[in-house]
Amino acid sequence: MFDWRWDFTIEILPRLIVATGNTLLAAGLGYAIAVVLGLVFALAQRTPSRALTFVVREAIEFIRSTPLVLQIFFVFYVGPQFGLRLSPWTAGMIAIGLHYASYLSEVYRGGLDSVPKGQWEAATSLNLSTARTYFRVVIPQALPPSLAGMGNYLVGIFKDTPMLSVIGVAELMHTATAIGSETYRFLEPYTLVGLIFLAISLPTAAGIRVFERWVRRKLGLS
């Protein structure tokens, strides 16, 4: 029945806090990979090469339509089948990075498409190089509309880190399950995990909205 033990709660809290650090690290690294890789995917779809665009598009659709947990298993286990050993962390980062890069590339695509055609034409009329056009003119204007989506996926990556527990990464969920298996008490560990997630994701979501406004102001766009 429902009997919450506070002494047990305090006992396991330190271990959970340490695991939270691992979770944040995993989320941060995965997000960093996804942000950069997503931009590569988005720009790859804007090259004149129809073949490249097609391949990247189909790959993105495939990754977005299939479960992340399955992709994590795939990356972790397929390597050894062909002699390539990946550590759980490496496999996890690759899988999460690729998965969220696909989502982010769609966000970037929307942002890039939202830049008015006249801006591209003005850049051409000043004979700016393609690189300059992207970095100085288009991407700064594509950024503010993309921030909301980028922020959502930051929170999303954080919430998806528990999936790494299935290949043994010692993040929050994994640790809670370990505690539960050791002590046969699941109430406190899992509830605390839920509360910790809430305590991090809700303020982060609010912080992103503030950040979005700040970026808009800094770029002189509002």
Partner: protein, 221 residues
């Protein structure tokens, strides 16, 4: 062994897992739609308590991950007297989780219905319930359909997690097969392809058909 031999030997287990996945998806969808409509409408209520309950539900289920919710429903709820067997726990968790996202879609769509529609219904002296049912919701439904398509794919992907509480879905079956054969590329690769086929060639066309169907009903196509 070749891929065909692999399929021949394990095909029936993969098929049974696929059927379980599809069943989970359908049940979770029904639950998610019901919950989303209820929570979305409750969120718009002027009664503070009613909208508060909905808000709490939405924020909790959107702020924590599906895996955490699944484990909580399966391992912790029994301590409160609610014991669900694993299949039920599975689709309930997925349905409640995506229902929270769906509730926001419902709310957003209702708010997108042009203000003139509300006013016209009022001018015809419709009661709030009738106005919602006959005027606003049908139009809101059409607005939210495209986003629901994405949500359904997320739902499909979410069902894969129930394998972690040993429900015999597609994910579970391939994990088992991989555990004995270590043919990871074949097992997980096949599963990836099946999920992709369901998402791209079943869910997406179905949603497009549904959109066209609804547009015809509203007289727009």
């Amino acid at each position: 062994m070749s891929y065909f031999e692999f399929l021949g030997q394990y095909g029936d287990r993969i098929l049974s897992g696929t059927l379980v996945t599809m069943l989970l998806t359908v049940l979770a969808t029904l639950l998610a739609v019901a919950v989303a409509l209820a929570a979305g409408l409750m969120r718009m209520s002027r009664n503070g308590f009613v909208s508060g309950v909905a808000t709490v539900y939405i924020e909790i289920f959107r702020g924590t991950s599906l895996l955490v919710q699944l484990y909580w429903i399966f391992f912790v709820l029994p301590l409160f007297g609610i014991t669900l067997e694993k299949f039920t726990a599975g689709f309930v968790a997925v349905g409640m989780n995506l229902g929270a996202y769906g509730a926001e879609l419902v709310r957003g769509a209702i708010l997108s219905v042009p203000k003139g529609q509300w006013e016209a219904a009022l001018a015809l002296n419709m009661s709030p319930a009738r106005r919602m049912r006959r005027v606003i919701l049908p139009q809101a439904l059409l607005i939210m359909l495209p986003s629901w398509g994405n949500l359904l794919i997320e739902l499909l992907k979410g069902t894969a997690l129930v394998a972690l509480i040993a429900v015999a879905d597609l994910m579970f079956q391939v994990k088992q097969i991989n555990g004995t054969t270590f043919l990871s590329a074949q097992t997980f690769g096949t599963a990836l392809i099946i999920y992709y086929v369901i998402a791209r060639f079943m869910i997406t066309p179905f949603m497009r058909w549904l959109e066209r169907f609804m547009q015809r009903m509203v007289g727009r196509a």
